[in-house]
């Protein structure tokens, strides 16, 4: 995956200006940097949720990417299992995915009744379930509110999908789960060091 001379402005502010980056095609890559430096914008551009004003992006595209948003974006009023049914192929069982995030017992619980950390894990399970068979998984601050033990277990299951994983993270624990850590600054976004 590669970004070449990408420029992207939002609300008149340049978030990326002629930004070039090569990303590993396998393993877990973490992007880290101060809040507001442009990590989320970079992830959205790679996913295909945003289109750059200049430059090119060589990535699988939105249809082949599972994207975990920084906000949970769960469907209000529905159960944990229904969150996954909404994105899984018809008839597919959501339970193994909820088991992978330690929430099998909460499958029939409405998400409004779950804690913040549990809701985050449901969102991760949804991205994971959707990601199976695709070409890229992008996780925007996946482990906010998730304890270290669960984060490790989830990452192990994510790795078993054998897909390149790109994530943004703040916490040292999350960064420790990655194979490669890219340190960024901005805006406009710039690479500090690998």
């Amino acid at each position: 995956m590669r970004l070449e001379a990408v420029t992207f402005s939002y609300g008149g502010k340049a978030v990326l200006r002629g930004f070039t980056l090569d990303l590993p095609d396998s393993g877990v890559t973490a992007l880290t940097g101060p809040s507001g430096c442009g990590k989320t914008t970079l992830l959205r551009l790679i996913a295909g949720l945003e289109t750059p004003q200049e430059g090119t992006i060589d990535a699988p595209g939105l249809r082949d990417t599972a994207f975990l948003f920084q906000e949970d974006r769960l469907l209000p009023g529905l159960t944990a299992a229904s969150q996954l049914r909404a994105v899984l192929p018809r008839g597919a069982d959501p339970l193994p995915w909820l088991e992978a995030v330690g929430l099998a017992a909460e499958a029939k619980t409405a998400v409004g009744a779950l804690s913040g950390g549990m809701r985050r894990r449901v969102a991760i399970a949804r991205a994971m379930a959707y990601g199976e068979g695709r070409r890229l998984i992008i996780l925007d601050e996946p482990f906010t509110g998730v304890d270290a033990e669960n984060a490790e277990r989830i990452m192990a299951r994510l790795r078993s999908l054998r897909l390149p994983i790109l994530m943004s993270a703040h916490e040292t624990e999350s960064l420790a789960l990655a194979d490669t850590v890219l340190r960024l600054s901005g805006p406009p976004l710039a690479m500090l060091k690998k």
Partner: protein
């Protein structure tokens, strides 16, 4: 627990006793049953009416008209709400007309429709016309409620129109629809009975209200009105119960 129940009972009973007391007091003050009959006279008149087969036939006919009118109105409101939400062209075409129906005086519609339809059908059409805009408006608000972020999530997870309808729009619209249906039921009764008063179908509580007014049978007028109110409350209670089961108070399993 017991004192909680007692408190609830008092909370329900106290206002009823207050208004009943006020009614008794006002009736005694006026002193003319022709102008304001007391509750005792109204209840004894109602009891007398209930002993006749005609009472039940009139009540059943009105109930049927109002309920079928409300159901047609709900159906039309749902279809039009979905249509105007999904099609910009239909929105531009239909929304002003629906707003006109909502704003126009109901009496004008009653008299106009009486020229085109039989007196039996007018209350049904009028009830439907009063219910439809309320359901339409509420459904539109419900369908517009999922935010940009949720729709972007649906796009990124490649959710097709059917999945969006089932997992996003339906759960979002149901509470609005429920509220629209409940608030429009009172309108269905008011407008349906008003249409009966003006159109005087052979069997109708509205017709009996009209005759009661014509022959200055004020206790009978009160009795029929009381019957309308009680029937309206029963139907609203039944629908509220059915909708609560259906939507599970917003946190439903899907």
């Amino acid at each position: 627990m017991r004192s909680k129940r007692l408190k609830k009972f008092i909370r329900l009973l106290a206002p009823a006793l207050f208004w009943l007391g006020l009614w008794v007091f006002a009736a005694r003050l006026v002193g003319q049953p022709l102008l304001l009959p007391g509750p005792k006279l109204v209840l004894s008149t109602l009891w007398g009416l209930m002993g006749t087969a005609a009472f039940w036939r009139h009540a059943a006919a009105t109930l049927w008209r109002v309920v079928s009118g409300a159901l047609w109105g709900i159906l039309a409101g749902v279809v039009l709400g979905a249509a105007t939400h999904t099609s910009r062209a239909l929105d531009v075409l239909l929304s002003p007309a629906i707003r006109v129906i909502r704003a126009a005086p109901v009496v004008s519609f009653i008299l106009l429709i009486l020229l085109w339809a039989g007196s039996d059908k007018v209350p049904v059409i009028i009830s439907a016309m009063m219910v439809m805009p309320v359901v339409w408006e509420n459904l539109r608000a419900g369908l517009a409620s999922p935010g940009r972020e949720l729709l972007e999530m649906a796009r990124s997870y490649d959710m097709g129109p059917l999945r969006r309808a089932r997992f996003i729009y339906l759960p979002a619209a149901l509470p609005y629809l429920k509220s629209g249906i409940l608030s429009s039921l009172g309108l269905a009764w008011k407008s349906g009975v008003a249409a009966e008063v003006l159109c005087t179908p052979r069997r109708a509580m509205g017709t009996q209200i009209f005759y009661a007014k014509l022959y200055l049978e004020t206790p009978a007028l009160f009795s029929w009105t009381l019957t309308v109110v009680v029937l309206s409350l029963i139907i609203e209670g039944l629908i509220r119960f059915a909708l609560r089961k259906k939507t599970g108070g917003g946190e439903n399993e899907a």
